[in-house]
Symmetry: D2
Subunit: 311 residues, 4 copies
């Protein structure tokens, strides 16, 4: 698949190769999260050295931009302009309210395993219609109730190519992932949360936001077998993990479509990675303790998220 664009038949073969359907039982709704054992979490805690904590989340994006056409709505319910007791007798307090549809290109968020439907099916073969107009009866974000905590590995693609950011549309191959590993002296292992930096934050800071149509650097479809072989438990990116365009007819977002639906991979889209890159580069670190917890929204398709790396 490396040299020429994959055909539909290639994709079918690839799906058979990576599918985890049935691997953890016919009722499983956790997918590759099963690869994070208690022991793995304990080992991850052992990576903490000086205790520096770094958020990998953008502020909830309340300002409309080309990458954020439907911003988070933030309103006040009570501010400091009110006399004491205006709302609750004897008290003076402030409160607010927000509304969010987390998917898209702006909010740092987790994709639940119900977020994509391929050929009418969800991860593990559940029917797409199990996601109803009142919510997901299968594969909801509740799979992440107890948090997603493991060893995080940051692969620094801009550093590999000695650039500030990858070109829009750059398709990262499995070979590049392995080169990044070698350069950084780290190996992605079973149960890891893999975080791929494309330099999106640096590019946005310099050139401003851009639209889906302009393209995104991200993983090529040939990374899917590699993700599967290595046993990646969760995949995060400063972009949306997918290279846009994908280069494959009829598969606009194969990392989402196949990664979520066949591998059972929870994705973290739109991570803020500039701060983590700074810290990791300065300390020559590639692996660290990484933890995040979706809001437990029953029947939800995802959650805004504030992932925290501790080094």
């Amino acid at each position: 698949m490396a040299d020429s664009a994959p055909t539909s038949d290639d994709v079918k073969t690839l799906i058979q190769q990576v599918s985890n359907w049935g691997r953890w039982g016919n009722d499983d709704e956790r997918g590759a999260l099963n690869l994070i054992s208690d022991r793995k979490r304990a080992q991850a805690a052992g990576l903490v050295q000086d205790g520096t904590a770094v958020s990998c989340s953008h502020a909830l994006p309340v300002v409309p931009t080309i990458e954020n056409p439907v911003p988070v709505q933030h309103c006040m319910l009570a501010a400091g302009d009110l006399p004491e007791g205006a709302v609750i007798p004897g008290l003076s307090y402030t409160a607010d309210y927000f509304a969010v549809g987390c998917h898209g290109l702006a909010t740092t968020h987790l994709d639940a395993l119900c977020h994509f439907v391929v050929d009418g099916k969800l991860y593990n073969g559940f029917d797409g219609t199990d996601v109803t107009s009142v919510g997901a009866n299968r594969n909801s974000v509740m799979a992440g109730l107890d948090g997603l905590t493991s060893r995080g590995v940051l692969l620094d693609l801009p550093a590999l190519h000695a650039v500030d950011w990858l070109d829009l549309g750059h398709r990262i191959t499995r070979s590049e992932l392995e080169q990044a590993e070698q350069r950084q002296g780290v190996t992605v292992e079973e149960g890891d949360i893999l975080v791929v930096a494309t330099g999106r934050d640096a590019r946005r800071a310099e050139l401003g936001p851009w639209s889906f149509e302009e393209g995104f650097a991200g993983l090529a479809a040939d990374c899917l077998p590699w993700l599967h072989e290595r046993g990646v438990a969760v995949l995060g990116c400063d972009g949306i993990s997918d290279a846009v365009p994908s280069g494959i007819d009829e598969w606009a977002m194969p990392i989402h479509q196949i990664g979520i639906t066949y591998i059972g991979l929870h994705l973290i889209d739109n991570m803020r990675l500039d701060r983590l890159l700074d810290v990791c580069r300065a300390r020559d670190r590639s692996a660290f303790f990484l933890t995040m917890a979706p809001l437990p929204l029953e029947r939800g398709t995802g959650s805004p998220l504030n992932p925290i790396a501790i080094l």
Copy 2:
């Protein structure tokens, strides 16, 4: 203060005793979070033994109840009933939307330091009017951007009293907190996240939810100097930390009013503690790694939260 109800003068004295205004500089907006050093976080990571992870959050409460008069609103934006390409060409995906005002008695949430105004002032002496109708210019929830991670200590008050839950209105004294420490063989230390269990989840499971007016078990005002002396960094509770009623005229919620505004204490209200109690009791654990990360809402007064304990 232990034997008779405190007077207004007592409260004034108490405030002078516990106030952290100016302690970390005149511009400080982090309050007692300053007590969590990198080193403290690293030590906390050292508490992880077998790696068991436990959420301390209720599912986002979407069903109206007496304790949840304004429920979280959850709606679908696209479900699995749509033909492929109905929303995005070539793709079949699902998405949802929720809206939340996190404060109150139902949602597990973090109170930012701007959440209460006392005598016209916020924590560290900022003016209450700094919380405007477009949001908090001071003491917003962004203080928690890099997460709240430290040693968590669970004080099990129902076990101390050999009951399933404390009576409504039970005011936990500093003496009871110390008795709980002794019984459990743990000592609350500087930088800890203190979690006080009152048995609310057990009571709700048995008797259903109840209203603010019916009362809540929680800390008496005389715990405030103790929290200050011990250097508690964050205080969480299955209730709202405050005993209701407080027993002090004109101070309906002293733990919120004085804890937030003078000590600079972030509070975690409405934690789900039944699962954590089970795990801690079964393993005879009282201290563990505890981590949580508010959604980074600029100018926000709080955040829904999914705190994760790792043992």
Copy 3:
């Protein structure tokens, strides 16, 4: 059907009797609104005498009550506490935001013809699945784009029975409707908007709100053929038009289920009628100009509404 509870077979017969499917073409999405001609509207304008205008809407219900478990959410976006120019340079303005799910027992609202599905079908035989998770492809509230304006006729059932309000669960029969007409000296005609007062506002003012389970006064199913014969274009009520319980097995809300789906009747639920009753009783008026306009929400299932009677 008058004396004993109707059977399922009775209901089937009734449906055949009242169905307007196909009457205005196979593509029709307006139903009984077709009975309001331009001429009818012009005649209605001729009913205006002194020009008194009366709202038939409750304030948007923002306070949770037993009849309003999911209240309208109202938040401020900018208030008068801000310095000039805080949001827009050189200007000082205020703004707010609200969120509403209009159906239920509290908000005065219009039910679009897509609001009910019976035997898998919508009004005029469209498939229920035409209402998708992104909205109604058929029978949306856009049928009311140019407003619902006609002769309004108020039937005053409490006055007929010389009570302040009908008992909960009172099933108004076609005979009672005709008695009310006779008492008031008015006859419901083709294209009219029929408004049935049950005294709900008076009862609520006296006794407070109540739940669906406690029952509602409303029309018995035997009124459906009468509504059809008379050519009622729109049906409104201070309750929800249906008597609750309906008294018919398997048809919990026949006025909604059959009225909307077979007759093609737009319903106005939860009208505020106390003020209109006062005005009509004082002037001995039963017919008046009545106008209302749903918000044009494409693919919407209904709209909050402020109907205005002009006498």
Copy 4:
């Protein structure tokens, strides 16, 4: 004021000239709505001839555009994909939800008299801080509870200039308003709802939407005394009534700032007028019955609106 840009002193004089503060009492919150008497409404009803009804509202704008940066959010709560009884036993119904901040350049909406603050004051001299972070204690949209119904007069400025639309930034003078009256053979009278067409819908249809910064055709400040003299009760426009830029330093939106705050004029922004223009031009009509009713949102600053003209 016609030939050269007005100075700050000119504006002060103008304000004194047009101010209605105190005119209807010190507690008045209705402003120029007081000019619509019952008799005026009755006369307006007499304008109805053939009964044609025309909506003057855009569909609620759910799609983000340059003129609609924060779109209305529309979500489903239940669609036709659910089995009967999924939400309510025995019933199959559909429901939705929307959230709207009505102000801005896209939603057809009414501005309440609390929407602008000038020199710290609202209409009738109330303090700007009466609009608090929990809503407007004065001059809320509840002034329109019983609807805004009167004679509507449409002034067709594009026809006056024999163009499809006015240039962006075109400042309509009082002289042009009078020329439009003469050309159309109509005179704006006390209590009228004046509707000014600038051709915005035609321009948008041809060239797409545009931003505030690109400018809007609208009334020049010198129309304010004219609006006052004539006794206009409500002012509507396909734009936002104000010409942008206004041409007056420190008064970015004088029609809003002075019209709302001093005259007490409710404004209708972003009316859809292309359909009404078609109908009025075809029938050579300029005056008609016009009715609209805001949603009764207590303490609200405005309302989305569907105004209906009946000819």
